[in-house]
């Protein structure tokens, strides 16, 4: 018998072990739901899997009686547009400001204290300010996401730029590179994969700020829907929506991870 830390599960067993907690949770839910529904078939708190599937299917395929729209897709499109705008703007800001702060001493000294200060402000605390300034429309929601994750991405990019070995920048200069060309050919390509990594880490926060702002003021969106139907204790809508959001979040994470692997084959192999 080897020590516990040296025992590795075979491949398939490993997968099964990973699925086990999910299966157990599902089983526990089904049991609890069945027990509750047996007592009172109209109990809304723990709807059966069938009821949830049915609701989800209806939201995805049947036009709403009130607006004539396919609710799930309208919500998804609205939320993803906000998320994409917020995350996209944050990435661009992160790249530009991060490189300015990390590479060029003058802009670094100018920007670093500001970035540090802004990063300290709890984003949700400024949400009212954003709603007051930008109105309750799309802009405020996008700005909240940017406010929430851009400082993190900026600081990450800045740190990565500062971590580039000085030798590389000296070498580039001895090969005749200007500051601009160093940004273009040395810094940007090496920072980009890190930017994707930072974005992956920031996505969780981005969803949080998206749902928070949708909960407060919106007319459609995944977060808006969850908080709307909460009033009717409509768990049959809320639970599938949460699963749907989780699935989307998982997909984006996966996409960014794959993008890094395909676009930057040298990344990850450097440490030797």
């Amino acid at each position: 018998m080897k020590r516990l830390i040296n025992e590795h599960p075979p491949h398939t067993v490993g997968y099964l072990l990973g699925l086990l907690p999910f299966a157990l949770l599902l089983l526990a839910y089904v049991a609890a739901s069945a027990a509750r529904l047996a007592e009172n078939p109209d109990d809304p708190l723990l709807p059966s899997l069938g009821m949830m599937l049915e609701t989800f299917w209806r939201l995805a395929t049947e036009p709403s009686r009130r607006t004539g729209e396919l609710v799930l897709w309208v919500d998804t499109a609205a939320s993803l547009t906000r998320l994409a705008l917020g995350v996209g703007i944050s990435m661009l800001t992160g790249l530009v400001v991060g490189i300015l702060a990390g590479l060029i001493p003058y802009s670094g000294r100018t920007l670093s204290p500001l970035i540090t200060a802004v990063a300290m402000i709890p984003p949700l605390a400024v949400l009212p300010i954003l709603f007051i300034t930008f109105g309750v429309g799309e802009l405020a929601k996008v700005v909240l996401i940017v406010f929430g994750i851009a400082p993190f991405i900026i600081r990450d990019v800045q740190q990565r730029v500062e971590e580039l070995p000085t030798e590389q920048l000296i070498k580039a200069q001895t090969l005749g590179a200007s500051t601009w060309l160093m940004v273009l050919r040395v810094v940007l390509p090496q920072v980009f994969p890190r930017l994707l990594d930072a974005t992956r880490l920031a996505l969780g926060a981005a969803w949080l700020f998206l749902i928070a702002s949708e909960a407060i003021a919106a007319t459609e969106g995944l977060g808006y829907r969850i908080f709307l139907v909460r009033r009717f204790l409509d768990m049959a809508t809320i639970l599938p929506y949460v699963v749907w959001i989780t699935l989307l979040a998982f997909l984006f994470d996966l996409l960014l991870r794959l993008a890094n692997r395909w676009l930057f084959p040298w990344y990850g192999g450097r440490r030797r």
Partner: protein, 263 residues
């Protein structure tokens, strides 16, 4: 004179690193530099690079003050991190041409690119990397990475080539190959080389001139009050064993560092 130092000092705050350096180096010399760890050899190269300015004295490149920042007239190879990890071998060398000729896009196209590529391929052939054009640095051995770094540095035809322990991390066998390579390049391309090494034998074998950096003045109360100076400036060719012994005693350097030391 390609490089002239007149009473050059380098201090950091109250710490004196180098003091009273006087030196004249002619085009085509292969200057090797040895000295105890921390005595200021890298600092000396950094001054030649323009990364650091002398605190006092005059440092001239071809009679004019040394430019205050690195530039294409001075090539460099460090012990590590000399090549760009995100570019394959060919692009690592090609980028030197692109830096010089595509001031805005940093990329060459069409016929210009083809010519630059040909030049890069010739350079890679000269250092023996023709078989590894598409490999990224992390796929190359330490020796191959240094070959690549040398090829890169030579693309600009620098007036002086600065090498900071370029072979310090390589195995003895590979190091011998690299010696042959650098001597061959030095002769054929008439380079002027400054090379720092920890290996006294290497210094004697490669150089036409060996500089020994050491502190001659000591203050036990303030170890950094005095800096290192050039204590030996030997035209290589007459390697007497007693001299080797004497330098070794003075600097505490091993004649040949144990195999595989230094990473």
């Amino acid at each position: 004179m390609i490089v002239t130092l007149r009473n050059v000092w380098k201090t950091y705050g109250r710490d004196v690193v180098l003091e009273r350096l006087n030196l004249e180096v002619r085009t085509g010399e292969f200057v090797t530099i040895v000295g105890a760890s921390g005595c200021g050899k890298t600092t000396f190269l950094r001054m030649l690079l323009g990364e650091e300015a002398p605190s006092r004295g005059e440092l001239l490149l071809e009679g004019a003050p040394m430019p205050a920042e690195p530039g294409p007239d001075r090539g460099v190879v460090f012990q590590k991190y000399s090549v760009f990890p995100h570019l394959n071998a060919l692009d690592n060398v090609l980028v030197a041409e692109e830096f010089g000729r595509a001031r805005f896009t940093g990329r060459l196209f069409g016929g210009v690119r083809r010519r630059a590529r040909t030049k890069a391929l010739e350079m890679l052939e000269a250092v023996g990397l023709t078989h590894a054009l598409k490999k990224y640095p992390h796929e190359l051995s330490g020796g191959m990475q240094q070959r690549l770094a040398i090829a890169q540095a030579l693309m600009k035809n620098p007036k002086i080539l600065l090498l900071d322990e370029p072979f310090g991390a390589l195995d003895p066998g590979i190091r011998r190959d690299m010696h042959a390579l650098i001597l061959d390049l030095w002769r054929r391309r008439r380079l002027t080389i400054f090379m720092v090494t920890h290996d006294l034998k290497e210094g004697f074998y490669l150089g036409t001139r060996l500089l020994v950096f050491d502190k001659v003045r000591h203050d036990p109360q303030a170890p950094n009050a005095y800096g290192a100076n050039i204590t030996y400036d030997i035209p290589v060719g007459r390697i007497e064993p007693e001299l080797l012994e004497e330098i070794r005693d003075q600097t505490g350097l091993p004649v040949a560092p144990e195999a595989g030391s230094g990473g």
